[in-house]
Subunit: 420 residues, 2 copies
């Protein structure tokens, strides 16, 4: 069947043609369809059997950016990437990736587990929900996928074939432009809070040290094929409840620098932290929540680096490579692992900073602060984010511990009421 | 015509079928064929019209490593890479790449300009020939090709397609194993001068700082798709005479770190330098020649970085990018260029060091020292090379100028007689 754009009316007829769906649903007449996509890029439907309660999510890519329309063409190839990236992430970190029931590159369709009992993390962070297991889960996901898909784990041949397979020209270009370029120049595509002072904008766009540092991060993003990264791992790509954490929407996946994923998580948690400092910042609840956010950031990096190290040492002891097989060889390997993680930490800080700044200055905002209607208060948050991020990107190699980064956040946060 | 291995007997019949050769040679009966390959990897023939003097070189890849035979399969894909890399280098640096008259991926054949008036640089260095224009030529070639094929010059889309096109799995694996792995471990593939002290070998293979540094360089080689590099740019891949310099044999080309090419040139010149310190080292000729070698190294880096900077600034002033378009923006860009070249200098030193060590400890030797029959003298040269290279790779980020690196060479060289 040649490619056809589905609709709420035609989805069920399409499902009836698929053996995988025949096995899942006993009665197609009992199915209902609900369109649930946020409507930006793709079409997303929930299909549910109201008798059994069984439901699935169907996602279809159209050959343009949905929120703009056919005037903004975007290759359906992104769905091939998303399908392959979901399958790869599922292989390495099964607990944190939804089950995939069916996929078709011809129809640009993937049908997967309905995470009906989970919600997008960003919205839950805005509401102030605590997730005690989140740091553990997301650090596992990142250690599993980033170590697993790198040269540290794969054969040289397999990895190179994956680099080719995951070449994602169109969506990388979007990131290069909208994450690393437009926000850092006087570009008509940008979108500023009218109350954001020009001095804050200039601090990013006309500041030599920041410009050079961001150019270095952009070049690294474009050149460093370190692992299969998710490529868009902000808190809007994560679904959580109190017991589980899932990573979704890997259409930006490609072989890039690991720190871009780790930095996306951490940078977006700092955005939540600065935003919460405004939201009823004097209340004990808000003080506690900000403390939980910073503690989560600390736990994510600490646990990630521990798990990454463990996987590496396990892999090395099972390998037949001669490289570290001599007296004290494993001690030397540990020095290498530490230097590797030290570089990755600097990358993480640099990429986190770019993602923080782009949310303030670029076209794509995040609800954490953009939904705040008091524009002066919002400008205050945005200025804090810019102040922290500019310092981070320029000095990214000078931080020795995640505690130092958290200390910078507290110090930068003019709204911070936490003491001690 | 399906793929057929040519021979000295069948080459001329093959040429008669090619319109490009009909245009070049008026009388096929006047042609003579000479096999001139060194016999390691491919077959190479010189075909000459003895009346007109016109001649060409025909190179054909066979589906195995020629010097071993069919028991060592090696995909003919390497000739597709060589053809594409020759064409690309010719586009960016026409004066330093031979003309290509004809190529066929089906036959794994390329027919190109006969550089009959030129000789392989390594042999000429061993003989002590001075090439006053070499630093100028090779620095132009490297600035042209490395800048031209990078993200600094190409569009993001075109560059990513080139990364895919130049994926060179088999030959990269050879470099990963024979340049970055085996020489640095107690591997049965290695080949040591029996007079080389075990302490010198252990200084590389059981030295934590060296092991970590080499692992970092290997990882960078495997992950950093910075530009289309030649991939094997030692002095055996360069043909020179007093007026011209040509780069040949780019079958190892892929998108990798620029410093691997610059380091290959410089590292092999240091090998020549240490080797010449033995060869009649007390004579004024030898002293002068070593001074020329060090001066050439200095000129190569200085001119390369100047030319690279010039190309970058030219490109930027012709571009419509907004990135550096603000007051003092070009000054900030210059800071970025300097930081870029500073990183590239560290890479260059690190890769040069790896290539120096691998020639001493790995299976593939170079005639500069390996043809010296006095094994004690040879071991002395090899020890000097190891002493310099181990210091270089560990401290690669600490050198500020190429003069500092030359000073290290003189200081390390126990055979050095140059003063002042």
């Amino acid at each position: 069947m040649s490619y056809q754009i589905l609709s709420a009316q035609t989805v069920i007829d399409y499902l009836t043609t698929l053996p995988a769906m025949q096995a899942l649903f006993s009665d197609f007449a009992a199915l209902t369809v609900e369109e649930i996509g946020d409507g930006n890029v793709n079409f997303v439907y929930r299909i549910k059997d109201n008798n059994s309660g069984q439901s699935v999510i169907l996602k279809q890519a159209v050959p343009y950016l949905r929120c703009v329309g056919e005037s903004f063409p975007l290759s359906r190839h992104r769905m091939n990437i998303e399908i392959m990236a979901l399958e790869t992430a599922k292989k390495y970190s099964p607990a944190h990736v939804p089950n995939i029931y069916y996929s078709s590159t011809e129809q640009s369709v993937v049908i997967m587990q309905d995470l009906a009992d989970h919600a997008i993390l960003r919205g839950q962070l805005i509401q102030g929900t605590v997730f005690p297991n989140f740091a553990n889960h997301i650090s596992t996901y990142m250690a599993d996928t980033l170590f697993g898909t790198s040269d540290l784990h794969m054969t040289s041949e397999d990895k190179k074939q994956c680099v080719v397979k995951f070449t994602n020209t169109d969506l990388c270009k979007l990131s290069e432009d909208f994450v690393f370029t437009h926000p850092f120049e006087d570009n008509a595509n940008n979108n500023y809070n009218p109350k954001l002072p020009q001095t804050a904008i200039d601090k990013v766009q006309k500041n030599g040290a920041v410009k050079v540092a961001v150019s270095q991060m952009r070049h690294k993003f474009m050149n460093n094929a370190q692992a299969l990264i998710h490529g868009d791992l902000h808190t809007g790509s994560i679904m959580t409840n109190q017991t589980e954490t899932y990573v979704i929407d890997p259409e930006f996946a490609f072989y890039g620098p690991m720190g871009f994923d780790v930095g996306a998580v951490i940078g977006n948690l700092y955005i939540a932290y600065f935003s919460h400092a405004y939201l009823s910042h004097a209340s004990q609840d808000s003080i506690d929540y900000r403390a939980w956010l910073l503690d989560t950031i600390e736990q994510i990096w600490t646990q990630f680096s521990d798990k990454f190290t463990t996987r590496w040492l396990e892999h090395e002891t099972q390998s037949e490579q001669l490289q570290w097989q001599y007296d004290n060889g494993i001690d030397d390997l540990k020095v290498y692992i530490n230097s590797y993680l030290s570089d990755l930490f600097a990358d993480t800080i640099g990429f986190a900073a770019c993602k923080m700044m782009r949310r303030v200055l670029g076209i794509a905002k995040v609800a954490d602060f953009a939904d705040i209607t008091d524009l002066d208060a919002r400008a205050n948050i945005e200025t804090n984010i810019i102040n922290m991020a500019t310092h981070m990107v320029v000095n990214r190699s000078k931080f020795n511990t995640i505690d130092e980064l958290n200390a910078l956040a507290k110090e930068t946060n003019t709204l911070e009421k936490i003491t001690g």
